[in-house]
């Protein structure tokens, strides 16, 4: 019973084996890819492991505080930003091994030529709430 975030990157992840940009796939290949992602989420809902997922637009803005009484400053996109998140999925699973297994399956989504992309997905554990029973002196 631990939650994990699966992060899909537009940019910033190591290059996948099947590294063809999506705009060079056939429309059928794109449909097959989207279908795979939807089926994956639906399957996780059935196993009781799905928490949420969302795709993100590639371009956003940077925003920061600019001092009392002033509107926030927006800027960007910055060309030097290497890491761009394409989307996320949150899962709730019994073990780290299960999280890795599911990330592996998601990474097998088909791309160009209908073959798995072997895309690198980033797997990040949520920080949990503290357990009630801790007899360590530092607690």
């Amino acid at each position: 019973m631990a939650k994990y975030l699966l992060l899909k990157h537009y940019r910033g992840a190591p290059a996948p084996a099947n590294d063809v940009p999506m705009d060079q796939w056939t429309p059928e290949e794109i449909s097959a890819h989207v279908q795979y992602m939807n089926d994956f989420a639906a399957r996780l809902e059935k196993t009781g492991e799905f928490v949420g997922s969302q795709a993100l637009a590639p371009e956003g803005a940077w925003v920061r505080y600019d001092g009392e009484g002033r509107p926030p400053v927006t800027d960007g996109p910055f060309a030097e930003t290497k890491d761009v998140i394409a989307g996320w999925m949150v899962i709730d699973v019994d073990s780290y091994e299960r999280a890795v297994e599911l990330a592996g399956e998601l990474s097998a989504a088909p791309g160009a030529g209908g073959k798995p992309i072997h895309e690198w997905l980033e797997l990040r554990p949520f920080l949990g709430a503290s357990p009630t029973v801790t007899e360590c002196a530092h607690h």
């Binding site: 928490v51 709730d92 019994d94 709430a129 357990p131 029973v133 360590c136």
Partner: protein, 388 residues
């Protein structure tokens, strides 16, 4: 009638339906419907016989569902199978339900969800909110769990340890959203102890009561952790402590020691100390030795090293720690603590920061970061003073 009392009727109502021949999964759905209906209707129109009302409504729901199912099957040209009454239960119905919901064929998260619903009488929505997952996900988790256990023939109790592990998991989830899972775990363990006379069930109940007694003292208003040694002991719940100690003493007197009794004994020794300085660390180390013998768990050895550090000094604690695998969770945090006690503040600060990076929960990470910051801010001055 309040909601908790209503929910306490769940197992016995479910048992009646199963005895009348309903299969577990359909009966459980029907009872859940009846509970939801009761919550809606009772405030304005409370029944004289709560359990009788629930049985009547749940049985009607079950028959309706079975008729609908039969009609569906006829449409599909399938032969309707009448549910066959199971063999007469050899163990108490409520107890049977605990074992079924904690069956080893279930994953821990499924067993927890099924126990909370079928034994605890919580709604799927309440369980989903407590575990921060969508209701649809929790509904699927529960219905899969029910499918899994519907194949189980349970005519005798299995290993009680599986049930206790599930209750312990619920307890450790603590307080999340509107639902107090720790209190719910205590209620379910109390109910189990009432139908199943076993020293480890009592041991777990005692452990929960003794920990629950310290709950309000364990966190500051801002949510940060307060270590045991720094807790305001006046805020410990003395009634819960007294009950926990009494339950534990009765269990220990039966001379069938188990890991929950040993853990409860350690909790009781902490509860018994009027101040942190008066803690009987020598006895605590002895209980950790028992616990090591019972479980051979590396986590227990780690906690034992802390106790040794208090009983025999930080050097002895560090020596005990040196024998352990340093990839254990919290190993670095324990090392930091013992080095601080030993006066090596620079090493302690570095290890606290490292432990914070490795922490798997938020409050603990913040606590460890604060420890590192405290030593980095004030520790150098103190170290100079102690050297001078």
């Amino acid at each position: 009638m309040n909601e908790v009392l209503l929910r306490s009727l769940t197992p016995s109502v479910l048992a009646v339906l199963v005895r009348r021949g309903a299969d577990f999964s359909a009966a459980e759905d029907a009872v859940q419907d009846a509970l939801v209906e009761a919550l809606r209707v009772w405030p304005a129109d409370p029944p004289r016989d709560a359990k009788g009302w629930l049985v009547t409504v749940a049985w009607r729901r079950f028959l309706d569902a079975r008729r609908a199912e039969a009609a569906r099957r006829r449409r599909e040209d399938l032969v309707e199978e009448e549910p066959v009454p199971g063999p007469a239960p050899a163990v108490d119905d409520t107890l049977r339900l605990y074992f079924l919901c904690a069956h080893p064929s279930l994953t821990p998260s499924s067993a927890v969800a099924l126990t909370l619903r079928a034994v605890g009488g919580l709604t799927t929505r309440q369980i989903a909110q407590a575990y921060l997952v969508p209701e649809a996900t929790m509904a699927q988790r529960i219905s899969r769990a029910k499918r899994t256990v519907s194949r189980v023939r349970l005519d005798r109790p299995g290993d009680v340890a599986t049930v206790l592990r599930v209750l312990y998991l619920v307890f450790n989830e603590g307080y999340s959203g509107d639902l107090d899972l720790a209190a719910e775990a205590i209620r379910l363990t109390r109910q189990l102890a009432a139908v199943f006379d076993h020293p480890e069930v009592a041991g777990l109940l005692a452990l929960m009561l003794l920990h629950h007694a310290r709950r309000t003292a364990r966190t500051a208003p801002d949510g940060s952790l307060i270590p045991l040694a720094e807790q305001d002991r006046a805020r410990w719940d003395t009634a819960l402590i007294a009950e926990g100690v009494a339950v534990l003493q009765t269990a220990l007197a039966r001379d069938r020691l188990g890991e929950y009794q040993a853990q409860a004994a350690i909790a009781a020794l902490h509860a018994d100390a009027p101040t942190a300085e008066e803690t009987d660390w020598v006895q605590i180390v002895e209980w950790y030795d028992e616990l090591t013998r019972l479980t051979d768990s590396p986590i227990v050895r780690l906690n034992r090293a802390v106790a040794v550090g208090e009983a025999d000094g930080p050097r002895a604690g560090l020596a005990a720690l040196a024998a352990l695998d340093d990839t254990l969770p919290r190993h670095t945090a324990v090392a930091a603590y013992l080095h601080e006690r030993d006066g090596d503040l620079a090493t302690a600060a570095r290890l606290y920061a490292e432990a914070a990076r490795k922490a798997s929960d938020l409050a603990e990470r913040d606590h460890l970061t604060r420890q590192a910051a405290r030593l980095n801010t004030y520790g150098k001055g103190n170290a100079d003073t102690s050297l001078g």
